[in-house]
Amino acid sequence: MAETEVSKKRKRPIVRLAVLLLSHSVLVSVICCTAGVFGLLLLPVLAKNTYISENALMPGSASSMLSNQEVSEANKLIKELNNLHSNPLGATTESHGIIAKYMSNLGAQVNNHKFHPQLNQFHPLHFFSGPDSGVMQENSTRSLYGINTVGIIRAPRGDGKEAIVLVTPYNAVKGGVRETLSLGIAYSVFSLLTRVTWLAKDIIWLVADSQYGEYAPVAAWLRDYHTPAFSNLDSLNTETCHVGNNNFESKISYGIRRSGTMAAALVLGVAYGNENEDTLGIYAEASNGQMPNLDLINIVHYLAVHRQGLRVKVEQFHWLLNSKWVKSLGEVFESLGKMVKTLNPDWKLGISAADYVEGAATLASSLYHQALGVPTGPHGAFRDYQVDAITLEFSLRISFDRLDRRNDFLLHGGRLIEGVIRSVNNLLEKFHQSFFLYLLTSPSKFVSVGVYMIAFALLVAPLPVVAASLYAKTLDLNPTSEKDKSATSNELGSVLQSWKWLNSVKTVFVVHFWGATVSLLPYFISQIPDSDPTTNFSVWILLSILSLEILRWILVSPSSHIYGLPQGEWAILKSATISSFFIGLGLMSVINFATAEIGALLMVPMALMAHPLKLDVRGQSLRSILRMICNLVLGVISFPPATFFVFKGVIEGFSGIKAGDFWNWVESLWAWNSATYLYIAARS
């Protein structure tokens, strides 16, 4: 011992600091975790006001040209479509004809795009679908199809290198004013844009046939736009469609017309609002938590609030708005802010409690939606092609049936869209100035990557420290135990000793592998014909248990001497899992921050607390029982579906290897990709 002390003394300050951290790993991890959670809670306070970063955008600098004339034209279209819906026979096909006719009357180039909805293709690496879906569509996809109508205005003096896309999902089967109003807004803007001279980018108006969901038609159109099939094998758009007896129908081609590279896309929707004001909802989250450039949201917000007098909202968790603890937390922050202000009036940290609650609710939903990795609207399809896109959902105070109200609404909505298009049209380069990595706390406030990463870093900081200290501890511990046990300290033994971590890494790898298998299983299960969700589900559980047992039998059992050495072995195992977990989290935070953050919130405490149950049971002391309870509680919390609780019991009852193994499993699932996590959540 004395020798080691001397060698330690010689070490340089940075090493000594590391040693200090390691020796106080418990304290460090508690402090860091608390700080991380606190930092996360502090984010709404630290949010900055948004600002328009790209000067070329110049939103609102030109006066709006949209007048009542366009609105009355749009009303004509709405009326015609609504009349059509009163006799539902053939409403779908005729509505396409009517929309196409209106478009081409404006001088736009029109084409129809026919697509087969890919109803939730279930693919192991493409989890963007619900779990219970992939079974029944195999035979029916040929007969099902939807028709998108696409109109293109060529910019009169532009060179056609770039385009702005306007998308209006329209369900002709459902019909109703709500469906047609968004068409009305788009049409009024479109008719204005055919006449203006300032257009530098082409305008593409896509009327997406949303009878099979809003995402599918947009995704299908984008796919065909970017990767057309030249060969006849996929003869989707070539087969003629003789449904409409309208002679106009026959003139419209089914070949895709193209314009240039897309600069931005706006998806319009109308919802029945039950609020006191006309509001505009902005949905921005695309697949895998990608966000459009903040400038796009900024200009929409600026124009909606300062020009059209609309109230802008982004998604919130409403249950958080009423929760007591958030409110009290807000009050605490408010008083803290006031105190800070008395110290220095320049520090503007304080926000009011109400603002804090709003911000927290928005932030939570923003985190949640980014973490899920499922786009919140059809705009998500654009992000896959690196096009910045958002969905704008108008909601009205009163019903749309009153004409004057409706006109007013169309005028405001149209002017907003016109303004946004004009701003994007001004843009010489693509969106690149503002942020891509951010969390919204309100439509006009955001937390940028530099701020929220701190909270995350604090949260995961204890992981390497704990892993290292555990490993160091076992290294310290083992030589003595080895001396006691083995009579002859041969070389082989010491070599084995130093390579012991490989064994535990193998265990970790096996469990990860099992997790991956389990997460892949549903794909194969979904291939089984004629099965309902419950059987699927039970098959899944059975198979996963089976595979676990097989894996354990094949790989783990040779090293079953783990049981023999509980104290040292489990510590090494834990340190290996923690370090792999840390690497996983670090990588994940680069790919999808929100998932990593939520995952870290759930898993880090558990990872740190994990301790073998058997030892705890044997230990009988108050501390170990407390720890055991903590472990169990955390295990349940981090595993929302109650069904999986049984699962966990099964694992622990059978093998009693480690509680650690169990969270390993969750973690590996989770690290697989963000959609896998979604998959677990969706199962519940």
Binding site: P13, N105, R157, G160, R195, N232, T238, G255, N344, K430
Partner: protein, 649 residues
């Protein structure tokens, strides 16, 4: 006679800013050598104006040994579907957006590039445009197969992004005998020209090296301004409903805002022609047949000038009918108006008033070409060229039957910048949506792969498509390259342009045949129409987003570099000045002393936390550097900072 010299420090003059002029060496002394003055000899009798006329500086053409040259500035795109793609007007005058320059030189092949460079620089200065960017070998190419028959002395370059404006038009107008002050060119009112959908100013130079002609030194200059204008009454917002879609009536004064005040004094002739294309004529003939009232065959005698569909305000001096020998389809009609008899007091103002709605479509090129990008992402993609047959191709003469097979010849000429690394072996051909082997369709292909930072990739193909084919498509895959940081343009995030591809149909000739020949000789434009030229069409310019560095990076890089350097040098210094034994001695002596009470307390606390029995207190802990004094110092500094902040902050 005088010689002027000027010093230029503009980017075009200084080799892109590389060879700056240092004014510290002023005053400069200029020496002129090897004069070859292209003089303008003035007889006492003749007018001095002659020297100001067009061919004065073009004597320099001799210097550049240009055999043939064409320069065009274009804004907007020609809409082949609406404005036609078959007649001589569209296939000669439709140009790709931006600047297009090609020139054939009369020098040995090894010297062509040098002469090309000189030419671009001269033109750049003359037309106030960045044509000098065509100097770099990455921007121009030497087509051999498809563009024009040439023997390695043709150079072709485009600048798709060049913005065209009045500063390019003014030098162009200066070449006209009366500039824009008199004659037809008086119409060229800048606002009305630039308000239009499309305008393209073109300058073509041919030097005939026949040698026998002593006059004019065998150089011909041809200037064309093609404008597609929007009648001022067009869609003023009154009616959207297309049920009564009557064509907008127009007159020269309403379109241009000016009249023609007679001819330019030194012009030989100035004429205005009104061309009714064959689609319209066919439509009018149908109307004639339908309306029994207008039974009198006005068409035969006086053209359509007073029919019931429209009315022309000025009686034409001449009417030309196109003679189609091949099939008796409707042919186009051209009205000729001579402006010589008009004057300031009685200007020429041609107008056309529609009476009934007539809808017709222009004659299309046999195949409509469009080009687009495929794929997404910053790594790779594909260029696709798709050719779709138009209606007009069905009734076309099948005069190009080769070896018993009816074939349609299509030439494609495509230049791709080097940073788009096209893999030519990935060329896929689809005819009528069926994949075809390349050998079946491609008759001849010439590929010169791009060299990084040296030359662009050029692909020339001569295709033989089966006659009845409805569509054809070609796709080529490419990887996107990386540029060096100083190769990015200032607006790098806009993306990069792939210049237009040129699709030509050599088996179709865009020419008109007129029956009356005696007048045609006087009219250059009509004789131009009669020339045989292949049908050409340009595709769209494509915009490719490349990976672009974050240009705020330099700041971050500086920060990081500074940090790294500080760390490195810090530790290096540390190593250099450390004396190991000395340190050990000090540590030992310190260990001998008793540790401070705070560190003792801390050690005890940590021992509790770790749940291990407390170690020997004397075996001084590794972290005993947290001494009482240090804590005190920190506290002191902190309190000073807080008070400072509170009172003075």
């Amino acid at each position: 006679m005088q010689i002027e010299a000027s010093l230029w420090n503009a980017s075009w003059a200084t080799d892109g800013g590389r060879m700056q002029i240092s004014l510290s060496y002023a005053p400069f002394e200029a020496r002129y050598r090897g004069f070859d003055v292209a003089r303008c000899s003035v007889d006492k009798s003749s007018d001095m104006n002659q020297c100001y006329a067009s061919h004065y500086w073009w004597n320099e053409v001799k210097k550049f040994r240009v055999k043939e040259m064409e320069l065009s500035f274009t804004q907007g795109r020609w809409r082949y579907e609406q404005w036609g793609g078959f007649d001589p007007l569209s296939s000669n005058n439709a140009k790709p957006p931006g600047v297009e320059l090609w020139a054939v030189f009369d020098v040995p092949q090894s010297l062509v590039d040098v002469y090309w460079r000189n030419l671009t620089h001269t033109l750049s200065g003359l037309f106030c445009a960045s044509i000098n960017f065509l100097e770099s070998s990455t921007t121009y190419s030497a087509p051999e197969l498809t563009f024009k028959p040439s023997f390695g002395n043709l150079r072709y370059g485009t600048l798709p992004r060049e913005a065209v404006c009045t500063e390019n038009l003014t030098p162009w107008l200066k070449l006209l005998p009366c500039r824009d002050k008199a004659g037809l060119s008086a119409l060229m009112d800048r606002p009305s020209i630039y308000r239009g959908f499309y305008h393209s100013q073109r300058l073509r130079l041919t030097s005939s090296e026949s040698g026998s002609d002593e006059v004019d030194s065998g150089i011909g200059l041809e200037q064309t301004l093609t404008v597609v204008l929007q009648p001022s009454s067009w869609r003023t917002g009154k009616t959207y409903s297309v049920e009564t879609n009557i064509q907008p009536s127009w007159s020269i004064s309403s379109i241009f805002g000016r009249n023609i005040p007679g001819k330019c004094v030194i012009a030989k002739s100035s004429n205005v022609y009104l061309h009714l294309d064959n689609g319209l004529v066919g439509e009018l003939k149908n109307l004639e047949r339908e309306n029994a009232k207008y039974v009198a065959n006005t068409f035969e005698s006086e053209g359509f000038q007073s029919n019931h569909a429209f009315k022309i305000s000025v009686t034409p001096d001449k009417v030309f009918e196109e003679v189609d020998y091949l099939h008796g389809k409707s042919t186009s009609v051209i009205y000729g108006f001579s402006v010589e008899k008009y004057s300031d007091s009685q200007p020429f103002d041609l107008g056309l008033t529609w009476k009934i709605p007539v809808v017709w479509s222009c004659q299309q090129a046999p195949l409509h070409a469009s080009r687009f990008l495929m794929g997404s992402g910053n790594e790779r993609g594909a260029i696709a060229i798709s050719l779709e047959s138009t209606e007009s191709s069905e009734g076309l003469p099948t005069s190009h039957i080769i070896d018993g097979r009816c074939e349609l010849r299509v030439d494609i000429f495509q230049v791709v910048p080097w940073y788009i690394k096209v893999y030519f072996h990935t060329l896929q051909v689809f005819v009528d949506k069926q994949p075809r082997a390349m050998a079946d369709v491609v008759d001849k292909i010439r590929v010169s792969p791009s060299k990084d930072k040296v030359s662009p990739g050029v692909m020339e193909m001569i295709l033989k498509l089966p006659c009845g084919s409805k569509s054809a498509a070609f796709s080529l895959e490419f990887d996107k390259g990386f540029l060096h940081i100083d190769e990015y343009p200032p607006d790098a995030n806009q993306g990069f342009d792939i210049p237009s591809a040129l699709i030509s149909f050599p088996s179709f000739n865009a020419r008109m045949n007129f029956s009356e020949d005696e007048f045609l000789n006087n009219s250059p434009i009509l004789s131009k129409f009669q020339e045989t030229s292949p049908v050409l069409s340009y595709t769209e310019v494509l915009l490719i987003p490349l990976t672009t560095p974050d240009f705020s990076m330099p700041y971050n890089v500086i920060t990081i570099t500074c940090t790294v350097f500080a760390l490195y040098f810090g530790s290096l210094l540390n190593v250099l000045r450390r004396r190991v034994d000395e340190e050990e001695r000090i540590l030992r002596s310190r260990a001998g002393r008793k540790a401070g009470w705070i560190s003792q307390l801390l050690s005890r606390l940590s021992a509790k936390l770790r749940g291990r029995p407390q170690e020997q207190p004397t075996s001084s802990l590794p972290y005993s550097f947290i001494s009482f004094r240090l804590v005190l110092k920190i506290l002191l500094v902190a309190s000073i900072a807080v008070t400072w902040q509170y009172y003075f902050g």
